[in-house]
């Protein structure tokens, strides 16, 4: 099985159904397949082993993804927001290959490295629309690489996560019912193509026969406008996007997206206050919390719409707490929480989250496999409750080691956010001569009801323990997140380190 077959199947079962785009550039499923075949020929003529794309979202994304498969090449998109130097280093990793460049990108690149040829998005789309489409001479094998995704590199040089055709197709086939979507269904994609969620959205929508429209890049007003205009029925967003979308909806007198049925979110922790506000404001929408990683071909656990409603209404503290969980594993996925020695721990005990299943790749280009017996250690800290709901507490690499004691920043952030005056919080470890590390918190206050650092310290001390109480609290208007909703802890840390040591300020 390979991802090209997903499109072949959709194109033969529903050739005339709309697949992607709006206006003159839109494509039916037969049109998308023809375009992908032409793209495949275009890439083969240029002897591409990699197909990269440095651009915002557009119909060029599915054409490049499926075209790469038709050429037996790996789709290796690059973040268009990267500084020029980092972009240049990644370009060397997609040779020999073709790079589809968005507006202004070719100028930034200058002369591409040897083996890399540039094509503008406009010229690429024209090539996908001209000539007689013919099926590729050979199809990729299940073990061939379908996608190479560069990790955000928040802790160093980006790693290239390798996803093989068998991983991606295994995910789609085990989670999506073929052609289950109706003519009226429409998904809005606003996550970028270099994010696994942008790729899985294309693949899942194709297999279910759903129309997708792309928002070039996320903007909350444009998102709401497009969702209204196109009667969008489902979308995937990251937590920071949800709060912004709710602000727009609350400030508008128009009905709150009556066509929308499902809104899934993932990519980072969702503040309880935001999801509760979303459920109040959009009672007709089913919310899905999807937890997954690039290395697992996207989603491995889901908190379903019913789970959301049950948790929200429940008076049982255990059930209610599940609104902060990431739900239970997909039927085709196994989850295990393990200690440092790799042994499973009982329910309720924190450890590292390990994942197993056909969609799990756990592999990086040029590095030995990260899996052990097919199990992938995620480096995420979590615990399971008695009914198998998974709770994620953050990255193990972010754990603060204070005087030999391991402290989870996520747990401290949760308690800080539970204070009525706190809108958001980030906790990091800072070097400390006596303790090795000390706890520092950067807090965004609610302007209407502020609180002092001392009050927040007392709030944490009363609920956790004194060692977990931030020694330093600083206030800010906005925490640094990347465009896909990841908190940039290294930026928080560098802000603290650039300031005078030991000073608590406002």
């Amino acid at each position: 099985m390979n991802i090209g077959m997903l499109l072949d199947m959709a194109a033969s079962a529903a050739p005339d159904r709309m697949a992607t785009g709006t206006g003159p550039g839109r494509l039916t499923y037969a049109g998308l397949r023809d375009g992908a075949w032409r793209a495949g020929a275009f890439f083969r003529e240029r002897s591409a082993e990699y197909v990269s794309l440095i651009d915002v979202n557009s119909p060029a994304v599915p054409l490049a993804l499926f075209g790469a498969a038709a050429a037996g090449a790996a789709f290796a998109p690059i973040n268009y927001r990267l500084p020029d130097q980092r972009m240049a280093r990644l370009l060397e990793r997609v040779a020999p290959g073709v790079v589809i460049a968005g507006d202004g990108v070719a100028e930034r690149i200058g002369a591409p490295p040897p083996g890399v040829s540039l094509v503008s998005r406009t010229d690429f789309l024209a090539a996908c629309a001209t000539g007689v489409p013919s099926p590729p001479p050979a199809e990729p094998r299940p073990q061939d690489v379908a996608a190479l995704l560069f990790t955000s590199g928040t802790t160093g040089e980006p790693k290239g996560a390798v996803l093989r055709h068998q991983n991606l197709t295994s995910y789609v086939i085990s989670t999506v019912e073929f052609m289950a979507a109706s003519d009226a269904d429409c998904a809005l994609i606003s996550v970028p193509a270099y994010h696994i969620a942008g790729i899985s959205a294309v693949l899942s929508s194709t297999y279910s026969g759903r129309r997708v429209i792309q928002l070039p890049q996320f903007d909350e007003r444009e998102w709401v406008e497009l969702a209204r205009l196109e009667s969008v029925t489902q979308a995937m967003i990251v937590p920071t996007m949800l709060g912004l979308i709710l602000d727009v909806l609350e400030g508008s007198s128009a009905p709150h997206l009556p066509a929308l049925r499902t809104l899934s979110y993932g990519g980072g922790p969702m503040p309880l206050a935001v999801i509760e506000r979303a459920m109040r404001l959009l009672p007709h929408v089913g919310f899905v919390n999807a937890y997954g990683l690039t290395e697992t071909s996207s989603t491995v656990t889901v908190l379903t719409p019913q789970d959301h409603r049950d948790a929200w209404r429940s008076r049982d503290a255990t059930v209610r707490a599940r609104l902060s969980s990431v739900g239970r594993p997909l039927p085709s996925v196994e989850i295990s929480v393990r200690d440092d020695a790799g042994n499973p721990v009982p329910a309720g005990v924190r450890g590292e989250v390990w994942v197993h299943g056909g969609q799990v790749a756990g592999e990086y280009a040029g590095l030995p496999t990260a899996t052990s017996g097919g199990w992938f250690p995620t480096r995420d800290e979590g615990h399971l409750d008695n009914d198998g709901y998974l709770f994620i507490h953050g990255r193990l690499d972010d754990v603060i080691v204070r005087g030999g004691e391991n402290l989870s920043p996520g747990a401290i952030e949760d308690v800080l956010r539970s204070h009525p005056a706190v809108r958001d919080a980030a906790v990091v470890g800072l070097p400390d001569d006596r303790w090795g590390e000390r706890v520092a918190a950067m807090v965004v206050l609610d302007e209407a009801a502020p609180a002092s650092a001392e009050e927040l310290q007392a709030h944490v001390r009363a609920r956790l323990r004194s060692t977990m109480t931030p020694a330093l609290i600083s206030f800010t208007g906005q925490l640094p997140y990347n465009e896909t909703g990841k908190l940039l802890r290294r930026v928080v840390r560098s802000i603290f380190l650039a300031d005078e040591p030991g000073e608590t300020h406002e």
Binding site: M1, Q166, F178, S204, V288, T299
Partner: protein
């Protein structure tokens, strides 16, 4: 005829256009027929007969499984014949709906 199948492999009906992908297979040879013949594996050397004998049709995107669940096939091209394992036709798998997560 006993054949050893592995996940991801393509299994073709030699008597109609039907094609399947192996989702799951037992770790042993299986006695499988499609249209009362041993299926072709991986590739089709020539085009399938234009008029297929009428059997129990298989539909694209549907999964078919053996009674014990050890063998599961996904139909990727519609055909005229349901695969038969050890004398028993495979059964249609009823989908378990999952919420859209992406």
């Amino acid at each position: 005829m006993a054949l050893r199948l592995k996940a991801g492999q393509r299994v073709l009906d030699g008597t109609s256009a039907g094609e399947f992908i192996v989702i799951r297979a037992p770790d042993a040879a299986v006695d499988i027929t499609i249209g009362a013949q041993a299926p072709l594996l991986d590739v089709r050397p020539q085009a399938p007969p234009a008029s297929a004998p009428s059997g129990q049709a298989v539909a694209i995107g549907k999964r078919y499984t053996s009674g014990d669940g050890s063998l599961e096939l996904l139909c990727v091209k519609p055909g005229a014949n349901l695969p038969v394992l050890g004398g028993s036709p495979l059964e249609l798998v009823q989908p378990k709906p999952l919420p859209a997560s992406d």
